[in-house]
Symmetry: C2
Subunit: 344 residues, 2 copies
C-alpha cells in the first residue's frame, strides 16, 4: 500500500509500505477514504533532521472498516468511521474524564508501531474506544466537514473551551491557520459576542469573517495588542485562543487577555517557557489547553456538522490524491493553501 514518509525537513515521499494487519485483538484496519495534512505536520517539515528510517505521517482520517480484531464489539466491517488523531480505550480514568489524549492505553498515529494516516490504510488500536461511526455514505458532500472532526475542528473547539468562551464574552483568535479558523467557528458556536481574528492573509480573513469573526487585527506584536485593547474598551478580551504555538503568538495571547481572563493554548509549543509573573500571575490569567481530546468532542460537534450548522470543511481549499501529498505539504508551507484534503 502507499503511505507518506518524511525523511527530513522538506523531504516528503510517497512510498510502498507493507500492508497493515491486525496485531492486537482490539485493532481495526481502516481503508482510508479521506485524510489531510495538518498544520502541526509543518513543524517537522520545517525543522526535522534527516533520518534514514523516516517518519510515517498523518493523523486525520475517515475510512471504511476492513477488518477487526477478536475483541472489537462496537464497530464492524463496512462501517464508515472517523478517527480522532489520538487513539484511546474510552474506559480509563482519563477517557472517562473526557481527556482521551491522556488515555492510559492510548497513543498517536505515526508513532511506534502504528502507521500514519496519510496512507491508503491504517491500523487503529483500541478501535472500540477510538472510532466513531458516521451515518452517511463515503462520498457524502459533508466529507470535508466530517473530516475536520478528526482534529482541526475539535482542536479549535478545545482552544475555545480552554479559554472559557461563553455567551456574551469577547474572544480573540491568534493565528489564521485552519485551527484558528475553526476556533472562530467554535467561539461563535459557544456564544461569543465579539470575535477578533488576529491574522493577515486576505483569503483566511475572508473565511474568518464568514465563520463569525467580528473584527480583524492584522498588526503583530505591540501594535496588535494595542489594537485589540482599542476594540475592547481598553480591557482586553475575556478569552484568547492561541492557535500557533510560537513565542510571539503565545505572548500576544497572554497580553491581549483581560485580568481574570483565560488563554486556551492548542498550538504545539515551539517556545520553551511562559512568563511566570507578568502578565499571567498578577492579572489572574488562566492558562489552559493542550492536545485536544477530540474523541470527546466528536459527539458534541457531529450533530452540528450533520445539520449544517457549522461548516468547518471550508478550511480545505485544495484537494489532492496520495501522490500529490508532497505538493500539498509545499503548498501549505508556502501559505498557498490553508489546508489540503487527500482523497482516496
Amino acid at each position: 500500500m502507499k503511505a507518506t514518509m518524511m525523511y527530513g525537513a522538506g523531504d516528503v515521499r510517497i512510498e510502498k509500505v507493507p500492508d497493515v494487519r491486525i496485531i492486537e485483538r482490539t485493532d481495526a484496519l481502516i481503508s482510508i477514504t479521506r485524510a489531510c495534512i495538518c498544520g502541526s505536520d509543518l513543524w517537522p517539515y520545517q525543522k526535522m533532521e534527516h533520518n534514514d528510517a523516516g517518519r510515517s505521517m498523518g493523523h486525520e482520517l475517515i475510512g471504511v472498516v476492513e477488518a477487526v480484531g477478536a475483541d472489537v464489539r462496537k464497530v464492524k466491517i463496512g462501517d464508515l468511521v472517523v478517527a480522532p488523531f489520538a487513539f484511546s480505550d474510552g474506559t480509563c480514568v482519563f477517557c472517562r474524564a473526557g481527556l482521551h489524549t491522556s488515555c492510559l492505553h492510548g497513543g498517536f498515529f505515526g508513532m511506534n508501531d502504528v502507521g500514519g494516516a496519510q496512507a491508503e490504510a491504517v491500523r487503529v488500536p483500541q478501535a472500540d474506544g477510538t472510532l466513531v461511526v458516521l451515518p452517511v455514505g463515503k462520498d457524502d458532500q459533508l466529507m470535508p466537514s466530517l473530516l475536520t472532526l478528526s482534529d482541526v475542528m475539535g482542536t479549535g473547539h478545545h482552544a475555545a473551551v480552554s479559554a472559557k468562551v461563553g455567551p456574551g464574552k469577547t474572544a480573540a483568535v491568534v493565528g489564521d491557520g485552519a485551527v484558528g479558523l475553526c476556533g472562530v467557528i467554535a467561539a461563535r458556536r459557544l456564544g461569543a459576542e465579539q470575535i477578533i481574528m488576529l491574522g493577515r492573509h486576505p483569503d483566511r480573513i475572508a473565511l474568518a469573517r464568514k465563520f463569525g469573526a467580528t473584527d480583524i487585527v492584522s498588526e503583530r506584536g505591540d501594535e496588535a495588542i494595542e489594537h485589540v485593547r482599542k476594540l475592547t474598551h481598553g480591557l482586553g478580551v475575556d478569552s484568547a485562543l492561541e492557535c500557533v504555538g510560537l513565542e510571539q503568538s503565545t505572548l500576544t495571547a497572554l497580553r491581549i487577555v483581560r485580568p481574570g481572563g483565560a488563554v486556551g493554548r492548542v498550538g504545539v509549543p515551539q517556545e520553551a517557557s511562559i512568563p511566570a509573573a507578568q502578565p499571567t500571575f498578577y492579572s489572574n490569567v488562566t492558562i489552559a489547553g493542550g492536545p485536544a481530546p477530540v474523541r470527546s468532542y466528536i459527539e458534541d460537534l457531529l450533530p452540528d456538522v450533520l445539520e449544517g450548522k457549522i461548516e468547518p470543511g471550508r478550511v480545505f481549499d485544495q484537494v489532492t490524491n496520495i501522490d500529490g501529498v508532497p505538493d500539498g505539504y509545499r503548498a501549505m508551507d508556502e501559505r498557498n493553501a490553508i489546508k489540503v484534503m487527500i482523497k482516496f
Copy 2:
C-alpha cells in the same frame, strides 16, 4: 502615630509618622485593632535593597472606623471592619466579576500615598467598596480567624478555587506556611477527599492534620513527586495549590498534578518562567491563580468563621504589639513562628 517601615533586607523599624487624614471623599480612617505579618513581607525582608525613603509595611487589618469622607455611605464611624489587602471600588467591571484585585480604581496598602497596615492607623481609599463590617466586638475571641479574612484565608481559598478543588477530588498543597495551611482548610471546605500536604516542619504538619490534611509528604524535588504519585495510584492529584512562589515549588506543583488537572498559584512568583510544553501543555494542565480577590471571598468565608466551622486563626502562633514587630519578622523569617499577630 507609630508605623512599621522597612529600609532594606532585615531592617524593619517602628517609627513615628504623621497621623493619617482623609484625602479623598471616598476614604475612611481606621484605628487598627489587629494586624499581622504576611509571608509575602518576608520577600523584601530577605531581598530588599537599602532605600533611604523606606517602605511602609503591612496589608492585613481589622479596626474601628474613626472618620469617613463625604461620599462614604456604607460604613460609619464606630464600625468594626475588616479590610482585604487590596482596596477596590466594588463597582467597576472587574469588581463586578469578582476580581477585586484588578479593580480599575483600586490599589494596595503600603504603596504610593496609602500607608501600610502594620501601624496604629491607616487611610482606606474606596472605603465603601473595600471594608466589610464585622458583627462582633473588637476583642471577640474570633479576632484571629476574622483577621485571616484580610488575606491569608482568602488567599488559601483562592489557591483551592483556582486549582478547581471540588467534592471527592484529590488535592495537594505545596508549602506549609500560613497560606498553605489555609489552603488545607479551603480544600477540605470545598470537599476534597484526599489532601496531601507537602511540608516538613513538625508544628505546621500537626496543624495541617488538624485542618484536614490526610497525607504528609516531607521530601522535596523528585522524591516528593514520586511520593505524591504513590499516594494517588500513580496518577497525580487533581488539584495542586502552589503556596510558596519559588521555582522548585512551582515545578513540583506542575509535576504532581495529573493530566487534565489544575495548579492554583498564590505564592508570589520569585521565578521567571513556567515551562511551556512539559508537563503543562502535553498534559492539559490548567495554570491559574494570582493575587487573591479576597474582598470577593469575605462574604463566602465570613459565615463559616462566625459559626466556628473553620478556624484559620490557628495559624497565628505568636502575638505581639507594634513595638515587637521587628522581632516578629525575625521569628517568621527564622521559621520560629508560622504567623505573627499584632495587637493594638
